[in-house]
Amino acid sequence: MTFTVPAQLETELDELLTHYPEKRSAAVMFLHALQDHFGFITPEAMEWTAARLGLQPISVLELVTFYPMFRQQPVGKLHFKICRTLSCALAGSYRLHQLFCEKLGLDCHQPGPQTTPDGRCTVEFVECLAACGAAPVLMCNDRFYEKVTEAMAEKMAAEHGFEP
């Protein structure tokens, strides 16, 4: 499989480059754009980015593995990111995580993101989402859900046509 970036995305990325004094500074934004488009970041995408920015691929791999928001595996259509940092943990986020996993048939003791076999949902325990005042919080794709109750969670996990 050869890696091709659609012309329009490429134009966008070229434009993005002009925002930075140094090419390498655009690395994170490149990766976000590629992840948004392809769903996850493949080695080919990293090598492409490295070549575009005059870096070695190891430097891009460093970034991709450093930031948890970059993923190297595909995720489900619904990506639930449940906060597990202090405020949310105190407000019951471990229970929420467990609940999601149970409802979706996943193992809540496994580290890292987990996806249902049908590819519909991914559940991930993440660090602080910066809405501690409204704990517990979670994100489904790009939407924030605050003060999440067990009932809300159950609904989200179960409801087939749930749209974030």
Binding site: I58, S59, L61
Partner: protein, 614 residues
Amino acid sequence: MSVVTNHSTTAVPVVKTLSVSVNGRWLAVPQTTAHPLTGQPVATTMIQACEIAGVTVPHYCYHAKLAVAGNCRMCLVEFGTPALGPDRKPILNPDGTPQIRKSPRPAIACATPVSPGMEIYTNTPAVEAMRRGVLEFLLLNHPLDCPICDQAGECKLQEYSVEYGQAASRSVDEKVHKPKQVDLGPRIVLDDERCILCSRCIRFTRDLAGDDALGIVQRGSHSTLTHYPGRPFDHNYTLNTVDICPVGALTSKDFRFQMRVWFLQETKSVCTSCATGCNLLIGSRENKIYRYVPRQNDRVNSCWMCDSGRLNYKWIGRSDRLTQCQVRDAQGQMQLRTWPEAIQEAAGRLKQAAPGSIAFIASARQTNEELFLIRHLARKLGAMADSAPRTGEGDAWLVNADKNPNRLGAAIMFGLDRSALPVTSDTAPAAVGSADMLVGPGVQLARSGQECPRSIMGAAAERIGAKLPKIAEGIGRGEIRTLVVLGEDATKHLGAALLGRLENLIISDILPNATTPRAHVLLPGCAHAEKRGSFTNAQGRVQKFLKAVEPPGQARPESEFLVELVRAVTGEQFPQTVEGLFNRMAKETVAFQGITWAGLGDLGQGIAVEVLKT
């Protein structure tokens, strides 16, 4: 005739100093020091000031030849600076000394610049407590597998743990496990659990070797040093990362599990694989060589050496070494002989040969002293003498395209030595080709003075081997009937057919080659690791090397038996020690004038070279 000198004409800049105190002792330190990569003046740091004061600050990530990273925190120290009043003037104590305001927080000595009047404290209880704390963190996930670790015995983690570590871990959690035995490249194995993430290896390969091949992936306690999958860590300088890795994370496939480092006897030597002559230490035990490691010489190789030179030692222990003196009898059979017999035989043949019927080919892998004796003998016998060029690939850093370790020595002995200029590169720091030796191609550096040594070398290289065609012609015409060959395969330079026409072929070598079976007299010689001597490297630096192991069988240092041969042929007695011989050579060779064996020291000395530009 034009003259090339390696004088630096620029005036030595006045070094501005400032005064700081280290643990209560005041000293003057330069305000700036040269940046290890760019050579630009940058503010002197506390760790450098401490070094000048003779106080060692424990450190991991700091390396004098690399960019500062400041990530390990091992070098934390306390410090204070003069207190200033509202008028920005120092507040004075009643006794007139400036009042020192101690910083409430420590600072990393490797990255903090010194300032006038600064007081640095490296031995307070607080500093020691910080070291203990840092070390506890570094050891938190460390496997503590010193008993099976190659670095044990020369490991900074081990050393500082003895001083500041704790016997038992306070952590109740299981340690984080990371990849073991990672095959990083053809010559390196990595144990990620031992890595303390100092990033020295990353900075070396990125900034000096110019190959940004290594990086740290993941985060926090899962951080893992690695290369990009499918891209092996493979260039000609990778093994230097094993040297600078302060722990046992990066290990050499060649040396791994071969020998405990504390059993190794270390002998100062130089590399013979090219004309650069990187300084090195031979690690040997019970007459076996286990490794070469670079030895710091800022005028030649800094702290580095190339992988190919480093690994080129195994031939020394080869089982097919020439170990016996042999002489061909009337029936054409080789017979074993003692040294006196073999020397008599060789001397007899040389004395009987008609003047002008003798030629010498002595390798530019032989030492200055040996070549000096050959030159003397050749002059006495009215014979032609030359060396053979040996070229290969060079690179933009250390590796020279000339593979003769003593090219310049040979050129001086057999070609260049007419008159010379007393110039030593010691008076002109970094002016002579050393600048481009010290940093790699990954660095933009004003390479001043590079032209000098390269052009010297160019001219010298041309002169080596210039007489070989004449020698071949002489043999072809039957004028040359006696050939003495030291350390070269003459079939390569003259052709096998010509050698068959010789009446006398006297050979000294280390390993058998296509020429050795044709010898009438065969004298087993020594590898450099088995003798003492000196080479003149490509920059015109005379460097000595010492003996690490015993030669096998009857093999003897060439300088020893050449002294005997000279005496047997001419009746002259040359000094029998290498020191004496070197000093005699220096006296009788204009280019080496003023240099003594003792004066060479460990780091060698620059010589006077005059070049005839043709």
